[in-house]
């Protein structure tokens, strides 16, 4: 079973040289720490920055330079800054190659719910609906089951949707799965020490298992 950093490390292998990538808040942010040397990617922050650099050194924080998680950050050689409309323009025009974000639920047809729990506090969708509606390639980073032990990979989402038919791949503490075009989660890889039976038990949606499922290489 993987911890949060393990999930981030596995997702980092999906990031290819030359990609423009948007990382959501939470586990997706950690992915930046595991992108291998030699893989050149540009991180997009939807508040209006391409080429997000690491956190600033203490004492060098700039209140005017933050990421979409409102954290102080830095720019890199080659960075650019723009307004919010242009930022979502490049997302909508599919210039951003890969979007990695968290989710509360994903359905077997690729629907995602990650912004609202009715009856509890609603914080808003931020840029998530724009990102999932436009991105060509969406990877979800999440826990396989919720705190109550219930599967988050479902036949249908029960929470209000963020987007429909959009999730392509899911990486959890247990497994790597792809969402099939005609519906269903196909199991690609097991986390170290996790059995297919454990993944099956934690997946409420349709799970396809073909042949031997290899263990993740981290």
């Amino acid at each position: 079973m993987l911890d949060k950093n393990g999930i981030a490390k596995r997702i980092a292998k999906e990031v290819k040289d030359g990609m423009y990538v948007n990382l959501g808040i939470g586990i997706p942010t950690l992915v930046a720490n595991y992108i291998p040397d030699g893989i050149n990617v540009v991180l997009q922050s939807e508040n209006g920055l391409l080429g997000m650099g690491p956190f600033p050194f203490e004492g060098e924080e700039d209140a005017d330079l933050i990421n979409a998680g409102k954290q102080t950050i830095t720019t890199l050689a080659g960075s650019s800054i723009f307004d919010s409309a242009l930022s979502f323009g490049m997302i909508r025009a599919q210039k951003v190659d890969l979007t990695i974000l968290g989710a509360m639920e994903v359905s077997e047809n690729g629907d995602i719910a990650n912004w609202k729990i009715p009856g509890k506090m609603v914080k808003g969708m931020g840029g998530a609906m724009d990102l999932v509606a436009s991105a060509q390639n969406i990877i979800v980073a999440m826990q396989h089951v919720n705190k109550a032990g219930e599967s988050k990979l479902l036949p249908n989402c029960t929470l209000p949707l963020t987007g429909v038919h959009c999730v392509k791949k899911i990486v959890t503490e247990l497994a790597v799965l792809v969402v099939l075009e005609n519906g269903g989660f196909q199991l690609l890889e097991r986390a170290p020490g996790v059995s297919v039976a454990e993944i099956q038990a934690a997946t409420a949606g349709k799970l396809l298992i073909e042949g031997d499922i290899p263990e993740m290489q981290l």
Binding site: G48, E60, A63, K70, Q71, D83, M125, L161
Partner: protein, 232 residues
């Protein structure tokens, strides 16, 4: 050159009336018009509809207007980080319309470009789409969203000149340029105000035609929401 300069924030916002719709630039607490928010607090204008990506925090930004119950409705994409906001929402004192961030930005842009509507895929198949006209282009479904109609836009820039031209700094740019374009009356507060002619025309982000009033603000606190650093 037309001179857009007004004395201060109080003068700039003096004709904002109860019940009007105002846009406020900024992302989180980054690039918010701090001086005008203080002036709105002093004026105690109420029943405002505020269009802003976020609603500040409890003791800063738009959160201060919420504390004084000056806001009737918030139109935002993300409103976490605010206990008073949550209380007013749950008690029904505050009306809230949550819309996708890109839709928010692009509805501002549309107003500034003179376009009545935009089509966006954001929110298709979700509760955001309820009651909205949709169209299919090249096999993909889009929602029709209207350009915003705001009485005032209040923005913060880094530098400006007496003709109303604006230059923003770093990610404090965010929603400010699109909101500057979208107000029937646009008020800009800047950290540095210079005479017309001192800014390079090639470097202007917002042309002065969109800006009706400009003044040099003071005492910027520029509060940081998430101070994150690494050690040397």
């Amino acid at each position: 050159m037309i001179n857009k300069v007004v004395k201060d924030a109080d003068t700039a916002i003096k004709d904002i009336q109860n019940g009007q719709t105002i846009m406020l630039g900024g992302f989180g607490l980054c690039g918010i018009p701090e001086n005008c928010i203080q002036a709105l607090l002093r004026k105690k204008v109420s029943d405002l509809t505020c269009i802003s990506n976020n609603a500040g925090v409890d003791d800063f930004g738009i959160g201060l207007l919420l504390q004084q119950r000056q806001v009737k409705k918030m139109i935002s994409s993300y409103v976490g980080e605010n206990v008073e906001f949550e209380r007013q929402l749950l008690s029904g004192e505050l009306e809230v319309e949550l819309i996708p961030q890109g839709t928010l930005a692009t509805r501002c842009m549309a107003a500034g470009y003179g376009m009545p509507v935009i089509y966006t895929p954001a929110g298709v198949g979700t509760e955001v789409a309820i009651g909205k006209e949709t169209r299919v282009f090249k096999g993909k479904e889009y929602l029709m969203e209207y350009a915003f109609d705001a009485d005032f836009a209040i923005v913060k820039a880094w530098k400006g000149d007496t003709a109303g031209n604006l230059i923003y700094k770093s990610t404090a740019r965010n929603f400010n340029p699109v909101m500057a374009m979208a107000g029937k009356i646009t008020i800009a507060e800047v950290e540095i105000l210079v005479p017309a002619g001192e800014l390079d025309p090639d470097q202007i982000h917002t042309p002065g035609i969109y800006v009706h009033r400009i003044f040099q603000g003071n005492n910027y606190e520029k509060r940081i929401e998430q101070r994150t650093v690494r050690t040397k």
